[in-house]
C-alpha cells in the first residue's frame, strides 16, 4: 500500500479546473471569430468571464482568509534556488540545487504570471461588460472616453495574447513525464511519500497528513 499525502485539497482542485475550463472557453470564444470561425460568441464569452471571476474571487478569499499565503508566492530564497538550478544546467560540476518546498521556482513564476494576466483580463473584461446588455444593466458605451476604452481594449487584448503562450507552456510542462506526479496531484489530490521525499524538502513543505 503506497503512502499517499495530500498536495491539493478538493476545493483547490475544483477551482483550478474551473479556472482552466473558463480560460479555454474564453480563449476559444475570443479568438475563433478573429480566425474566421463565426458564431454568436459574445454571450458565451461574458458569461464564462463571470464564472472565471467568481472562481478567482473564491480562490482569493480561500487563500487570504482561510490559509497561509506563503507557499506559492516567490520570495528572496527562490532567487538563490533559481541561480542554483541555472548553475546545475550550465555546469556539470555545480552542486545539486536544493529541493523546493511545496512549489518550485518555475511553478511559482508561472502562477504569478497567470495571476497578473488573468486579473488584468478580469478587470478589463469587467469594464467591457458595461458595453453589453446584461440581466443587471443596459449597455452604456459612453461610460469612459474613447481613449480610455482604447487602453482597456489594449490591456484585455494583450492579456489574452499572453494567455495563449502561458496556457501552451503550462499544458506542455503538465504533460512532461517527469512532471506526471504534479498532474496526478491536481487530478487526484495526492502524491506518494517517495515522490514527496525525492522532489521536496520536508523542512520547507511540511505535509499535514
Amino acid at each position: 500500500m503506497v503512502d499517499k499525502l495530500v498536495r491539493h485539497a478538493g476545493p483547490d482542485r475544483l477551482i483550478h479546473w474551473l479556472i482552466a475550463a473558463s480560460v479555454l472557453v474564453l480563449l476559444a470564444t475570443g479568438f475563433l471569430p478573429i480566425l474566421g470561425i463565426e458564431f454568436n460568441w459574445v454571450a458565451i464569452h461574458w458569461w464564462t468571464g463571470v464564472v472565471l471571476t467568481a472562481a478567482v474571487l473564491v480562490h482569493l478569499l480561500r487563500v487570504l482568509i482561510a490559509r497561509k499565503r506563503g507557499p506559492i508566492l516567490p520570495g528572496p530564497r527562490d532567487l538563490g534556488d533559481a541561480l542554483a538550478v541555472a548553475r546545475k544546467n550550465f555546469r556539470r560540476d555545480a552542486p545539486t540545487p536544493p529541493l523546493p518546498g511545496k512549489y518550485s521556482v518555475s511553478q511559482k513564476l508561472i502562477h504569478l504570471a497567470f495571476a497578473i494576466v488573468v486579473l488584468a483580463a478580469i478587470a478589463t473584461g469587467g469594464m467591457m461588460m458595461v458595453k453589453v446588455d446584461t440581466p443587471w444593466w443596459e449597455r452604456n458605451p459612453y461610460w469612459i472616453s474613447d481613449g480610455a476604452w482604447g487602453i482597456v481594449y489594449v490591456v484585455h487584448g494583450f492579456s489574452a495574447l499572453f494567455l495563449i503562450t502561458l496556457v501552451m507552456t503550462h499544458v506542455y510542462f503538465a504533460l512532461r513525464p517527469e512532471k506526471a506526479l504534479y498532474l496526478r496531484a491536481m487530478i487526484s489530490g495526492w502524491i506518494t511519500r517517495p515522490d514527496y521525499l525525492r522532489e521536496h524538502d520536508p523542512e520547507r513543505w511540511r505535509v499535514e497528513r
Binding site: 482604447g150 487602453i151 487584448g157 499572453f162 501552451m168 506542455y172
Partner: protein, 47 residues
C-alpha cells in the same frame, strides 16, 4: 490605432496580427525545452 471623427488618433486595441507571435513563443518554449532535456539526458548517458 484609428482616427475619430475629429481626425485624432484613437487606440483600438491589441493587434490580432500578434496572435502568431504569441503562439510561436509557446511553441518555441516547448521545442527549446524538449531539445534541452534531450541534450541533458544524452550528456548524463555519456558520463
Amino acid at each position: 490605432m484609428s482616427r475619430d471623427v475629429y481626425g485624432r488618433e484613437v487606440l483600438e486595441g491589441a493587434s490580432w496580427d500578434l496572435i502568431p507571435i504569441f503562439f510561436g513563443l509557446g511553441v518555441a518554449v516547448m521545442v527549446v525545452h524538449t531539445l534541452w532535456r534531450l541534450l541533458a539526458a544524452r550528456r548524463v548517458d555519456s558520463e
